[in-house]
Symmetry: C3
Subunit: 458 residues, 3 copies
C-alpha cells in the first residue's frame, strides 16, 4: 500500500503543500495584525522627536545578530555531526527556524504585545522569535534523523504555541525571571523533544546503527556549530535583559561559566574515555552546558565565582550524562535522543532553573542597590520577599516541565498521524530520503519513503 | 605556441605583475588623495569637541562587520559548492574583494565624496566599498571556474568603475533610493556578469561537465556561505540607511522577507524535485532571494506583510529559475551561469527594483509622517510627487540594466585579450590549474595553462 | 617502562587531574579576588545614576564579540589545515583559550586593575583576557601536533604570567603604545613559542612527515579560520583603544592594511610558486600579516597610504618567509614551526613594532590636535618628546623579545618534565593519540602515549 502511486504522489506533495499552507496562513495573519512598533515606524518614531541614538536598535541589534547566527549557524552545524545527515541537519534547521520566526512573532505577539489589536514588532520581537526557534531546534535534536520535514513543521507549529503560553505564564503571570531561558528555552525544548521522542520510539532502530556515528570531517563541521554557539552565548543570555549593567553583567557571567564548563568537560571526557582519550561528542556538546546553566541566574548578582562554579558543575554533569545516562535513557526509558539534548539542554536547564531559585532567594537590597528594581521588580516594590521570589522561580520550573511533557506527548501523537511520511527504520539518519545527494547510486532508495520493512511506529 | 617556454613564463608572471601593478597604482592614488574624515582624524574629531558616543563608528560599525563577513565568508563559501574548485572559490573571492575594497574607495571617492580635492574615509566608505565588492563577486559567480585570476582582476578593475558611475547616476543625479542595492548591486552585478559570460561563451564546455557538480562535503561548505549570508543580510540592507528608525525598519523587513523566501524555496524545490526530494542548489541560493528583493524597498514602509509577500515571491521565482530557466539560458542564449546568479541576483534584483517602484509610488505623508524627509527627501520637500519618485525609480532600473549590459560586453572583450591566460575547456572548474593542490598526481596538468585542445575562445 | 600499566594509568589521569587542579585553583582565586566592576555591578551602576546608554558595554561589546570569534573560530580552524589533526587543532585551541581566559583575568587583574584588594571585571577585562589567549594560541601554533594537552596547559599557565608581566612593563611602566599587540601579543607569542619549540626540538620528526601536510578539505577548513581572522581583525586592533576617533581610525587602518597584505601575498605566492601556482599555506597565513603589522601603529595617524604600504610589506615578507626562511629555521636553527608563526606573527610583529617607532617619532601636535592626549598622553603632557616616545617604543620591543625568549626557554624545560606525556616522533600530527577518532582501525596505537621508539626528547 505504501508503495502505491497515489500514496507516493500524496507524500511527494506533503512538504510543498504544508509549506505553502503555513506561509499563506502566517501571511494573512501578518496582514491583519502585525505592524511596525514606534521604533521601526517612520511616522511614529519621528513624531516622538527622538534622537536617533535612542533607538533601541543600537542597544539590542548587535546582540540580536549574535543570537541569529547561533540559531542558524550554531544549531545547524552542531547537528551536522552525523556522517550522512549533514543536509538534513543544516537544511531542516533552516526550514524549521525560518517558519518558527514567523509563527512565533504571531503567537508571542498575541500573548505578550498586543496594543490596540495590533502586534507591534521591532528588534525585541526579533530576539524573542529567535529564542522560540532555539527551543524548537532543541526538540529537533532529540528526533534528528528519524523524522521527516513535514512532521517537523507540524512539531514546530504546536511547540511554538506551547512555548508562547509557557513563557507567558512564567514571565507575565508568575513574575519569574528567566532572561536566557534555562527554563523557557532549554528545559522546555529538551523535555518537549524527549517526550515526543518517547512516543515515536523505534525498537528496530539498530537497522540504522551504522549511520548513527560521525566521520572525521562531519565532526569538524559540528565543531563549527559548537564554537559559534560557545562564542556568542554571552549575547544570547544578555539579549533580552534590562539595558546597562543588566546586559553587561549577564554577558560577563555567561563568558566565565562557559570557560569552566569547557574545562570540566575536557577533564571528565578524558577521565571516562577509553585509554584517556577525549570524545568529540562531549567536547561538541557538554562544553556548552555552561551557557545553559546561567540562562536564569546570569542576569542576577551571581558573582564571577558563582559563574565558574555553575559552569563547571554543568560541564561535568553533562559529560557524565553522555557517557552513562544516554544509554540508560534508551534502554530503560525507551527514549532515543540523537543529539543528547537531555545532557546538553535538559539537565543543565533544570540545574540552571535551580540555580535561579538559589540566587533569587539570596537577593538582598544591599547586593543590588537601586538595581534591584530592574532585576527583581516585585521584590523591589515590596510585593514579594526574596524567598517568595525563589518559590515562584521553582514553581516556574514545574510549570515548564508540565507544559513540555504534555506538549511533547501531544506532539508525538500528532507526528504519528499515519499519512505523514517518516523514514523507515533502516533509512534513518540518511539524507538520501529527502535530498538529492550528489554522486549517489540511487538504486537503494527508489521511493524514499516506501516502507522497506514493517514500520514499527504506525 | 601556447606551450613555448617564453609564453609559459609570461603567463606565470601575469598574476604577480598585475597584483603589483594594481597595488602600486592604488597606493600612489591613496597617497595623493585619501585622507581620514572628521570622524577618524584625531585633530578634526577633537577639534569639534564631540562626545565620543556621537562618533558614527558606534552606529554603523557593527553592521559594517556583518557586511564584511558576508562578502568574504558568505560569497566565498557559497561558491565553494564545486567539487574541485573550493580553493578558487574562496581564494579568488579573497583576492578580488581585497583589491576591490581599495579600488572602490578611490572610484567612489572621486565620484561621491571629494572634499577640497581629498577623499575622506571612514566607516561609511568602508560599507560602500564592501558593497561594490559584493557586485564584483556576483559577476564572478557567473563565470566561476572558467576564468583565471588575472582575468578576474581586470574584470574587477572595469566593473568597479562602472559600478561607481551607475551608483552615482542613480543616487546622486536621479535621486533614486536603493539602500540595499537591488539595482546597484544585485541587478548590476548579475547582468554585468551574465553579458560578460555570454561574450566568453564556451561551446565545448561539456569537456569539464564531470567537475561541474558538487560532492557531499562541498555542499556543506557552501551551506556555511548560505547561512552566513542569510543571517547577516538584515545588516547588509540596513548598513547605509538613515540612522534610527531607518536602520531598524530595514533590518526588520529583511528578516521577515528572508523567512518567507526560505519557506517558498523549500516548497518549490520539493514540488519540482524528482520524487519530491529537495535540491541543495535551491536551498543554498534561492532561499537568499528574500534579501535581494527588499534591497530597494526595505527602508520604505513596506509593512511586515509586504516583506513576507515579496520574499515568498522571490524565493519561488528563484527556485523555478534554477529548475527551468538556467538550462534555457545556456541552450538558447548561450549564457553559461556557474552559480545561477541570474536566479539569485538577476531576477530577484529586478523584482526588488519594481517593488521599490511600487512602494515609492504608494508613499504618503500620512504613512511616513516627519520620517518622509529621511526616506524620500525630494518628495518631502515638495520637489517630486510620490508618482514621479516611482518613475525615477523605474528609470534607475533601466539605467542600471544599460550600464550592466554595456559594461559586461566591454568586460568580455577585455577578458578575451589573447595574452590573458584562461583555463582550457577541459580544465574548467579545476583548482589544479591555479593552485598547488595537496596529494595530487601532477601529471595531468604539466603546464596549467597550456591549451590541451584547440581553445574555442581565442 | 613507558608501557607499564602504572605509568599508563598515570598518563591517563594527567589531563583530567590537571584540568581539575587548575579549575579549582582559579575558582578559589576568583572567590577571593574577582568582583563586578562599576559597569557590571547592579548596586554600583545604579548608585551612580547613569544613563544605561553610557555603559561601556555598548562601546566595546560588539568589538569584543569579534575578538572572541577570532580567538576560538579563527585560530582554531586556521590550525586545522593538517590532514589528521583537526580535532587537536580546534579542540586544544578550545581548551587552552578557555583556561587562559580565567587565568589571565587573574594575572592581568593582579597586575593592572586591583582596586581595594579586588579585581574588578567587565568588558575591558574580557577583551584583555582574550588578547592573552591569542598570544598563547600563537605559541601553540609553533608546537602544534608535537605536544600533548597537559603540556599545553602548563605552557599556558606559564605564558599567561609572563604575558601579563611583559604587558605591564610595556604599557604601565614604559608608557609604550601597543593597542593591537604587535609586540605584546604577536611578537611575544611567536618568539615564546619558537624558543619553546627549539628546546623541544625533535631530530627524528621526519617519521611523521607524511602527516605534516594538508588534504583538500582540511585546507578549506583552515580557510574558515583565515577568513574570520581577516574579516574581524579591524575589531581586534580597535577593541582596546580610546573611544571615538581612536577606535574608528584603528579599524580603518587595519581594514586597508589587510587588503594590501592580501594583494602582496597573492603576488608573491604566484611569483615563487612552481609553475606560477598559488600556495594555500601562503594565502591562509601571510594574507593576515597586514593585521599584525598595524597592531601598534593602527591607532596612530598612520594615514591610509601608510596602512597600505605597511600591509603590503608585511604580506610579501611573510610569504617569502614561508617559502625561504622556514626551511632554514628548521635546518640551521633547529626550530620546528608547524604553523609558521615566525612568518605570520614573528616578523610582522617586529615590523609592526618598528612601524610604531617610526610613526610615534613622527607625531606632531599639528597632526593630532587635541587628540594627541588620547594617543600619546605623555607627549601631550609635555613629559616626553615624540622622539623619546619612539625610543621607548623601541625599548618595548627589546623587552618583549627578552621576556619571550627567556619565557619560551623556561617553558621548554617545563614541558620536558619526564612524567608529561608527549606523542612519539612517529605519532606527531595525529589526532588518534588524544582523541577517539571515528571509524579508525585502532590497532596502530594501543597505548596512545607509549614510546614506540626511543624518544629523542627525554
Amino acid at each position: 500500500m505504501a508503495g502505491s502511486p497515489r500514496r507516493a504522489a500524496g507524500r511527494r506533495l506533503q512538504l510543498p503543500l504544508l509549506c505553502l499552507l503555513l506561509q499563506g496562513a502566517t501571511a494573512i495573519l501578518f496582514a491583519a495584525f502585525v505592524r511596525y512598533n514606534p521604533e521601526t515606524d517612520a511616522a511614529l518614531w519621528h513624531w516622538g522627536n527622538h534622537s536617533h541614538a535612542d533607538n533601541e536598535f543600537y542597544f539590542r541589534y548587535p546582540s540580536f545578530q549574535d543570537v541569529h547566527a547561533m540559531v542558524f549557524v550554531g544549531f545547524g552545524f552542531l547537528m551536522a555531526f552525523l556522517q550522512r545527515y549533514g543536509f538534513g541537519s543544516v537544511g531542516f534547521t533552516f526550514l524549521l527556524a525560518a517558519f518558527t520566526l514567523q509563527w512565533s512573532t504571531l503567537i508571542q505577539g498575541f500573548l505578550h504585545s498586543m496594543h490596540g489589536g495590533r502586534i507591534r514588532v521591532g528588534v525585541q520581537s526579533m530576539v524573542n522569535a529567535d529564542f522560540c526557534a532555539g527551543a524548537v531546534l532543541i526538540s529537533f535534536g532529540a528526533v534528528l534523523g528519524r523524522t521527516g520535514p513535514a512532521q517537523l513543521l507540524l512539531m514546530a507549529l504546536l511547540e511554538t504555541v506551547l512555548f508562547g503560553i509557557n513563557e507567558f505564564v512564567l514571565l507575565s503571570l508568575l513574575g519569574v525571571k528567566d532572561a536566557g531561558g534555562s527554563m523557557t528555552i532549554h528545559t522546555f525544548g529538551a523535555y518537549f523533544g524527549l517526550v515526543l521522542s518517547r512516543v515515536l520510539y523505534r525498537p528496530q532502530l539498530e537497522k540504522s546503527k551504522h549511520r548513527q556515528g560521525s566521520i572525521y570531517h562531519s565532526d569538524l563541521f559540528a565543531m563549527i556549530g559548537t564554537i559559534f554557539l560557545w562564542v556568542f552565548w554571552p549575547s544570547f543570555n544578555s539579549a533580552p535583559t534590562v539595558l546597562g549593567d543588566g546586559q553587561h553583567r549577564t554577558a560577563l557571567n555567561t563568558y566565565y561559566s562557559l570557560t569552566a564548563s569547557t574545562l570540566g568537560t575536557f577533564a571528565l571526557s578524558a577521565l571516562v574515555g577509553e585509554r584517556g582519550r577525549l570524545d568529540m561528542v562531549h567536547i561538541q556538546n557538554a562544553a556548552l552546558a555552561g551557557g545553559v546553566v546561567v540562562g536564569t541566574a546570569g542576569e542576577m548578582m551571581l558573582t564571577p565565582f558563582g559563574a565558574l562554579a555553575a559552569g563547571f558543575l554543568a560541564g561535568t554533569v553533562s559529560t557524565l550524562g553522555y557517557k552513562f545516562f544516554t544509554p540508560i535513557l534508551e534502554a530503560k526509558f525507551k527514549v532515543q535522543d540523537t543529539c543528547g539534548v537531555h545532557n546538553l539542554h535538559g539537565m543543565p536547564g533544570v540545574l540552571g532553573a535551580l540555580l535561579g531559585v538559589l540566587v533569587a532567594g539570596l537577593a538582598t537590597h544591599e547586593a543590588y542597590g537601586e538595581g534591584l528594581d530592574s532585576v527583581f521588580p516585585l521584590v523591589a516594590a515590596g510585593r514579594r520577599t526574596a524567598t517568595s521570589q525563589a518559590i515562584y522561580q521553582l514553581f516556574g520550573l514545574l510549570v515548564t516541565l508540565t507544559f513540555a511533557s504534555v506538549g511533547g506527548g501531544l506532539g508525538g501523537l500528532l507526528l504519528k498521524l499515519p499519512f505523514l511520511g517518516s523514514p523507515a527504520d533502516s533509512q534513518c539518519y540518511e539524507d538520501q530520503v529527502y535530498w538529492e545527494v550528489p554522486g549517489e547510486q540511487e538504486e537503494e532508495a527508489q521511493d524514499p519513503l516506501r516502507a522497506e520493512e514493517p514500520d514499527s511506529r504506525a
